[in-house]
Structures are given as C-alpha cells and as structure tokens.
Amino acid sequence: MKKWRNTIAFIALIIFIILQFIPYDKQMNRPVKGQDLFETATIPEDIGQLIKSACYDCHSQFVRFPWYANIAPVSWLVAKDIREGRESLDFSVWNTLPKREQLKLLDEIAEEVIEGTMPIDIYKVMHLEARLTDEQRDSIVSWADSFAEDLLE
C-alpha cells in the first residue's frame, strides 16, 4: 500500500515538473509612457487606490505578479486572465483610445462593478484588497459616471 502511495506521489511530481516546461503565452508588462490613465487624468486618491488594487492586475501594463504566478498550472490561468482582461480594458493605453471608447468603457466599469461581476471571484480568493464593500463599489460607480461627464466638457 505504501509502495503504491509512493509511486503515485512520484508520478505526480514528474507530471508537475513536466508542466513547468510546457510553453505558454506569458503576459509581460509593456507600459508606454504617457498612455496610462493615471498619467493624464486626475483620479481621486481613494478611487485611484481601489482601481490599482482591484483592477490593475488584469487591466493594465503594471501587473504585480505574485510568486505562484510563475508556477504551472496557475501561471496558465493568470496569463489567460491578464490577456482577456487587457483585451477588454487596458488602463495603460487609456490615452490612446477615442473618447467614445473611453465613455463606453466607463459605462461598462460602472455596470460590472455594481453587478459584482468584477473583480472576478478567483482573483478575490488570493487578493483580500479586491473584495470591495458596497460602499467602495458605489464610489467607483459614482467616479466612473462623473468622469464620463467630465470627458464631455
């Protein structure tokens, strides 16, 4: 019985090691000066902190990679979330977007934050600061709406 247990553990270890060598689409940070939201817009400090801690790890070029983000299979999941996050919204190219696109994204931010679909559940498991209170959600929505109005002035 013990021999079987050792054999299974050994095979699992070999599989785990092999997984580390499987190539995947690792997402790198490639910020371009002058393009990030925070570089031109004046964001209230409390909102800025919320956005950076709850959104920037998938929606920017300033992703903080924790140690486990380099270990497969978690690394694959992290890479997928960042790729998809940047495809729908990348705050680090904000200043290159047409105004109508910015307004659409602000509307989506408000909608997803108030509905609780963002930040995604799996991210909140490892990031306590991304578990937003109702008050924090409301403040992000109010900011998104007023920032959108400001863009039209």
Binding site: R100, L103, K104, L106, A148, E149
Partner: protein
Amino acid sequence: MKNHLNRLFVLLPVVAVFVIVLSSFDTNSITRSGPGNQEDTFVIPDDIQGIFDKSCFGCHNVDSKSDKARKKLLLDQLHDLSKAKLVAALGDIKDIVGEGKMPPDKFLENYPDKALTPEEADKLKAWAEKTADELVN
C-alpha cells in the same frame, strides 16, 4: 359661528394660492427637461429606425418580457440618456453588432427573418460610430 367664518376667510386665500401654484406646474416639462435629455440633438434616421424595428426593438423596449434585454438597452429611451450614456450605448451597439452577437442565435431559430443582413449590420455599425463621434466632438 363668527370664529368659524374668520377661519374660513383666512383659509380660503391660502387654499386658492396652493391650487394656483400646483396647477402652474407642467409635469411633462419636468420629466423632459433633465440633463439627460437628447431630444433636440439626437435623431435616428428612418433607415436605421427601420433596422431597429425589424431586428432589435422586439426585445429592447420598456415593455419587453426579457429583463436582460431591457437592462442592456432600451431603444425607445435613448433620448432620455445623458450624452455620456448615449455614447456608451452607441458603442455597445457598434461592438455587439460587429461581433455578430445580436439578434441572439436562439431568438433567430424561431424568427429567422429578424436576422440582420450583412448590409444592415454594416449600416448600423457605421451609423453608431459616426453618431457617437459627432456627440463627443
């Protein structure tokens, strides 16, 4: 008796003033003059309205049975949106039509004639993009 009459003389003008003030309110103008009203600046051309009526309006109106569709977009309420929200809605229309997501496949199984033709989809996208750009500039 005299006291009652005195009270009546005091109350009558007060009531009269109250009634005059109330009747001078035009409730319609209150609901239509908010900051979100785009009635004067936003006009949907007939050809675009025709496409909406054929393929979109059945679900995206205030009386729709689909909560999801109502929540996403109300084509009969576009005029009441703020300019920022209207631009966002036009952006959504452009993207979702561009991705071929609307009308949904499930809906088209029962109503294949409601599908957007490629020409209609292109026309809708171009109009949504152009109108959004005009609104922001």
